[in-house]
Every structure is written in C-alpha cells, then in structure tokens.
C-alpha cells in the first residue's frame, strides 16, 4: 500500500520536475532569441526544413478536408434549403477551428517529430557536447533557430490550410453540387468577421505553433541519449503535442467565442 502511494508520489514529482525543466528551457530559448538577428541564415535553413517541406502535406490535407466538409455540409443543408450558407459554414469552421488545430497536429507529425529526432540524435552522437567544447552554445546554434522556425511557420501553414480548404469546398460546392457562386462568397463575406474570426484563428495558430515547437525541441534536448530514448522522445512529442493543442484549443475557444 505504502509502495503504491510512493510510486504515485514519485510519478507526480517527476512530472513536475519535467515541467519545471521545460519551463526553464523555454525561458532560456526566449532569452537567446536575439541571436537570430545576428545570424538570420540559421533561421532560413530551418524554415526550409520545417516550413517548406511541410507545405505538401498541409496543402493536400487542407484541400481534402475542405472538399469533404463541403460535401457533407451540403447534404445536411440542402434538406433545409439553405445550401447557400455552405460558404460561411465551411469558412467559419476552417478559420476558427479546423485550420489551426489540424495544422498543428499535422505539423507535429511532420515537423515536430523530425525536430525531436534531429536534436535527440545530435545529443546521442555527442554533437551537442562537441559544440559546447568548441565554445558554441548548442542552445543558440541548434535549438533557437528550430524553435523560431516552428513559431513562424505555424500561422503561415494554418492560413494556407484554411485558404486551400475553402477553395476545396468551393470546388465541390459550386463546381460539383451546384451551389450559387455569388451566394457562396457573399454570404461568407457577410458572416466571417476579419477582426473576430480570422484574427482569433491566427492567434490560435501562433499559440499552437509556440506550444508544438516548444514540446518538440524540449523533448529532443531532454531525450535519453540512446537509440531507444530518441525513439521514445519522438513518440512523446507527437502525443504530448496532440494533448496540448486540443486542450489549448478548448481553453482558447472558450475565451474567444464562449460569450456569444
């Protein structure tokens, strides 16, 4: 019985210890961000591997999600004769929720796991300690550019996801199912507010980007430097990012849209 309690206590303490580590790590990153102004090239290289290489999966997922949304919404809306409001329904759900959330989940699968594996392997193959020996701060050289690349890429990717998704639902709704072209866009423009819906979606994607990149670089930096440890850390990145993004999404939605 006492052993059991001790195990719980131990597990709880470990969780808090990791959380504390992660917070301190985050503060170190934030303090070191100015290094990027002196060496912008580091950032560009990471933007390529984090952002540009995620482009394909984001665009394809956005297109299919938009097309499926258009198809399914149309089937329900047409029963009430309100298929003209397909535009606002799809645009609002994409801009407010699906764009930021799905992009963050895909991002952690495509880019976050790669970041963790990369940093973890650098640690396992002692590259990070070599850098330290050469008086190069691995935090500034390796971690900060990757973190900032994630933070910058996320809102851009989320905006592309939403935009492509709306185009996908336009193709299905107007092109295949015969929703009126003018009604699709005009109703959308009437209902979607720039300052509330679009801006809140962007804020969400920035927050998700910070959370997802934070988890990814921390798990990599904190990984047990063995083959198994790196693989565990990579798995943890994807799982924890999913939890964090979905939890944050609920909180943010409650704050942003809860009072309507």
């Amino acid at each position: 019985m006492l052993d059991w309690l001790q195990n719980i206590g131990q597990a709880g303490l470990r969780v808090f210890q990791r959380l504390g580590h992660a917070t301190l790590f985050m503060l170190q990153i934030l303090v070191s961000i100015p290094v990027l102004f002196r060496h912008p090239r580091l950032l560009i290289h990471e933007l390529y591997s984090v952002g540009v290489l995620s482009l394909a999966i984001i665009v394809i997922s956005g297109l299919t999600v938009g097309m499926v949304l258009g198809l399914q919404m149309y089937n329900t809306l047409v029963d009430f004769g309100t298929e003209d409001s397909l535009g606002p329904v799809v645009a609002l759900s994409l801009v407010r929720e699906l764009g930021p959330v799905l992009t963050a989940l895909l991002f952690s699968g495509r880019a976050g796991s790669a970041l963790t594996a990369e940093i973890g392997l650098m640690k396992a193959t002692d590259q990070l300690s070599v850098m330290e020996m050469m008086a190069v701060d691995p935090l500034k050289r390796v971690v900060v550019p990757r973190y900032m690349a994630g933070v910058i890429s996320m809102p851009l990717l989320a905006a592309m996801f939403s935009a492509v998704g709306i185009l996908g639902s336009y193709m299905v709704g107007v092109g295949m199912l015969g929703v009126d072209d003018g009604a699709f866009w005009s109703q959308m423009q009437d209902k979607v507010m720039l300052d509330e819906d679009v801006l809140n979606g962007v804020i969400k994607s920035i927050v998700f980007g910070m959370a997802a990149s934070w988890i990814a670089v921390f798990e990599g930096y904190d990984a047990v430097p063995t083959t198994e440890g790196v693989s565990r850390a990579t798995t943890r990145t994807v799982v924890h990012t999913a939890f964090a993004v979905l939890g944050l999404d609920f909180v943010l939605t409650a704050i942003m849209f809860g009072d309507q």
């Binding site: 933007l47 952002g51 905006a159 592309m160 935009a163 009437d190 979607v192 720039l194 300052d195 679009v198």
Partner: protein, 157 residues
C-alpha cells in the same frame, strides 16, 4: 541538401504563399470593411419585440447593409427592448422620420433591421432615437392567430 540559394528562394516562396493565404482570408473570405467600420455613428431604436435579432445583425436600407447592431438591452421602465445601431458614416443622409422594422431573410434565415427612409428634410445625427418601429415577425404568433381564425370560421359554419 540543396545549395543555399535554392533554399532561400524556396523559403521566400513559402513565406509569400503564407502571406497570400492571409490576404485571401482577409479580402475574399471576411469582409475587409471591418476596418472601415471604425468610422461610424450611433442610432437607437426601441422595439416591443426583437424576435431573434442578435448583436452584429446587419442594418439595411433597401437591402444594402449600412451598419450593424451594436448592443441590445432591455428597458424595464418602459418595458421595451433598446437596440443600439452603428451606422457607417458614409451613410449620413437618413431622413429623421425613417422607420425601423425587423425582418427575416428568407423563412428561417437570420433577422436584420430594415430602415425605410421617410420624406423629411432633416437627417438623423449621432445618438438619435428612431421613433417609428415595427416589431419582429414571430412565426408562432402568426400561426396561433391563423389557428384561432380557422376555429372561429368553422364555428360560424
């Protein structure tokens, strides 16, 4: 790994695409007039019943949107709903005997306030109250009236 120039060009394209997506969300998906709406003036209207009118419902003249409902309150002295409207400043010339009614777009659509211009030479100014109002059309009430009428008719027969 590609040469540094290719990488930089690709990153440039990536950022340009992201900006284009933002631009599309701002211009095509939402109404950019959200910025222009900072330049507005207030009107007030009192209704017995506002039906399903909500904050941010449109205000129209002749079907053209000229503003939005800013807030809805209830005055428990006069037992009326007070609706505050924000009208875009470019529509300054609304005659001060215009009437406000609450209509429904389509049978089940959203509700909006329609202003019918009167013939007065004077125009509404900031903070004025619209006197002539017509309450929302409530479907249940109309159905109820219709049923009572039917019952009376069949009794007479």
């Amino acid at each position: 790994m590609q040469t540094s120039r290719t990488v930089e060009i690709l990153v440039g394209i990536f950022i340009a695409l992201g900006m284009a997506a933002f631009f599309m969300l701002a211009m095509k998906v939402s109404n950019i007039t959200a910025f222009a709406e900072t330049d507005t003036y207030r009107l007030q209207a009192r209704f017995d019943n506002i039906g399903g009118l909500k904050e941010r419902s449109p205000v129209r003249i002749g079907g053209v949107r000229i503003g939005r409902v800013e807030s809805i309150n209830y005055d428990d002295e006069q037992l009326e709903a007070i609706v505050n409207l924000r009208i875009n400043s470019q529509h300054k010339r609304i005659p001060d005997d215009s009437a406000a009614s609450i209509y429904t777009a389509g049978l089940l659509g959203e509700q909006y306030i329609s202003l019918e211009p009167g013939g007065s030479e004077e125009f509404y100014a900031d903070g004025d109250t619209i006197d002539e109002t017509q309450s929302a059309f409530v479907l249940e009430r109309m159905v109820g009236k219709f049923l009572i009428q039917e019952a009376e008719n069949s009794e007479r027969r």
